[in-house]
Subunit: 349 residues, 2 copies
């Protein structure tokens, strides 16, 4: 089959890879009908060293189940299903606790011999714990919104949940990427009253306002911190950090209120950062967050999409077919596109 | 009057300083009857560069109110009162939220011209927000336990509160200093069922067992992490870090369970440390804690001491008078003493 492959920074191509087959009785084979290019895909797109071995890409997809292993019970051939960005058994202690991203048998797409989402098909390990059947067809108008259950919406929601957002909360969202915008939507959905969005791209922050942002701060660095602190006297009780770069983290602890919470969901592109007296400790700031257990949130979020209460799919502003995926990366990288939907077309297993 | 002064690492002397006087109508003058040498005093004792200007020391004390400014309402001449390690107005938004350590008008003892606790007397700013009257006399047998309200007990309690300890919790306490031991006591008091204490000093860990530790791990580094993870399958849901050095923080994220919480109360002797995918983020670990609002906790903890349900004063294993304070530092530094009580004696204002 054909799939996107990254060879080095700036170098994505579509090539031939091995057709997926059922290997374990808990596997399903899925023909991918919709996928996307994620903000986190841009990290290697900007930094990957050249290598002889290209890597598979993509970790968000919806597809049609084509075959299932003998142990699979919850999906069957012909079902349309969404896959969260981590696969998981659904039965280990961490899955039962709602943290499927720490599943002891689980893992992430496009690593260690596991298929990626930017391709014609995928072997889905632990299908019962991973896939969720969708109540629509593959060409439904809700598909872009439903695809956000894979990662972006669950991740924005996770930021808000971990940050403790509830009725009446005051929240700052750092970052106007798709996850930041859906963190705004999630905070609004949970009842936040004041939502300050930091970002410089008007098209994006306008969508943020449509999702519920009450204020937008375009300034960065010290000036941006000052602006947020002007808008929210005493600092922001809750800060959702949806970028993953260190300046975003620094902005987060710059605007947070004493005893407040910073909830990070942007995959950190740093390992060490300030957490001592001058940043977190001195004012008793809590730092929380991590990879969202998107699987855990689908049951709660899916009805809001199907019943039209939220439309997170509005973050997609470009659609490409599989051959155009390299151009999708380019458009994301140059910020021409906020979020790119991938339609692999009539892929065959 | 006389007070302890630190000149450089390893060099503490008792010398003459200016007598405190009432400067503001919100001040009180307190003749100090009991103070102590804190674990955090050891940080400068091991690192302070020599300088012409020695610094005052001590931030925990009980004393007799000798005079009050015209605005002071809650204490009067002759009262015995305890001072938390931060002074605070009790009325600003952070004080009202229970975070007196972030008081907009408050501060810390022995800095910026404010008296320290290791001396004969102190000017207490914002006396109404700071001092709490004690229902005993200055020579009562409960005084060592009541002095822990100043810092150590409140700090151990803060670790447990921020860590979310409740009935049935499983907790690991990193550090067998006085705060670590009182974090054990606080966790037990809040209902923790399994309390693993890490520490190498048998006299201390024995006291930790008396305070409620169910297991003791003496090993350090990777071996210590493995031991804790053997005792608590899957890692510790709550870790209370009561040291402040980076290896203690590293041990904390080594033993914490996915989705667990690390609550720090040891003043960090580092600013940057790992918080990325490999430490906190990957398994959605929450980092919380900071300087304890000891003032906020006195109302809750005082009755337990007065009514004999807890005896945190057991951490004191040496008593010195003011002249012996330098020897008290030495004994703490060499670990001869766990915690040193200071009785300034019949100091005069």
């Amino acid at each position: 089959m054909r799939a996107a492959l990254m060879y080095a920074a700036g170098d994505v191509r579509v090539g031939h890879v091995a057709d997926p087959i059922l290997k374990e009785p808990t596997d399903a084979l899925v023909r991918i009908t919709t996928a996307c290019v994620c903000g986190s895909d841009l990290h290697p797109y900007r930094s990957m060293a050249g290598s002889d071995a290209p890597v598979r890409m993509g970790h968000e997809f919806i597809g049609v189940v084509e075959a299932t292993g003998s142990h699979v019970r919850t999906v069957k051939k012909g079902d349309l299903a969404v896959a969260p960005f981590a696969y998981s058994d659904g039965t280990c202690e961490h899955c039962r606790a709602g943290l499927q991203t720490s599943c002891v048998h689980g893992g992430f797409w496009a690593r260690n011999g596991i298929d990626g989402g930017q391709g014609e098909a995928a072997r889905v390990p632990l299908a019962d714990g991973t896939l969720v059947q969708l109540p629509v067809t593959a060409d439904d108008a809700l598909i872009p919104s439903l695809l956000t259950l894979s990662d972006m919406l669950g991740t924005g929601h996770h930021a808000a949940v971990r940050g403790g957002v509830r009725q009446g909360s005051t929240v700052t969202v750092v970052g106007d990427g798709a996850v930041g915008l859906l963190a705004v939507l999630a905070a609004k959905r949970l009842g936040a009253e004041q939502i300050v969005l930091t970002g410089r791209h008007t098209a994006r922050t306008d969508l943020g306002r449509a999702f519920g942002a009450t204020d937008v701060v375009a300034e960065r660095g010290a000036e941006g911190i000052e602006k947020v602190r002007e808008l929210i006297g005493g600092g922001s009780p809750i800060v959702l950090e949806a970028v993953g770069h260190r300046p975003a983290y620094e902005q987060a602890y710059g605007v947070v209120r004493p005893s407040g919470t910073i909830s990070r969901v942007g995959a950190p592109q740093y390992e060490e950062a300030p957490i001592g007296f001058g940043s977190l400790f001195g004012h008793d700031v809590t730092l929380t967050g991590g990879p969202a257990p998107a699987r855990a949130y689908i049951d709660e979020l899916l009805p809001d999409i199907v019943e039209g209460r939220i439309a997170p799919g509005r973050v997609f502003d470009r659609t490409v077919d599989l051959d155009e995926v390299p151009d999708g990366y380019r458009a994301r990288d140059t910020r021409e596109a906020l979020k790119v939907l991938v339609r692999p077309g009539t892929g065959k297993l």
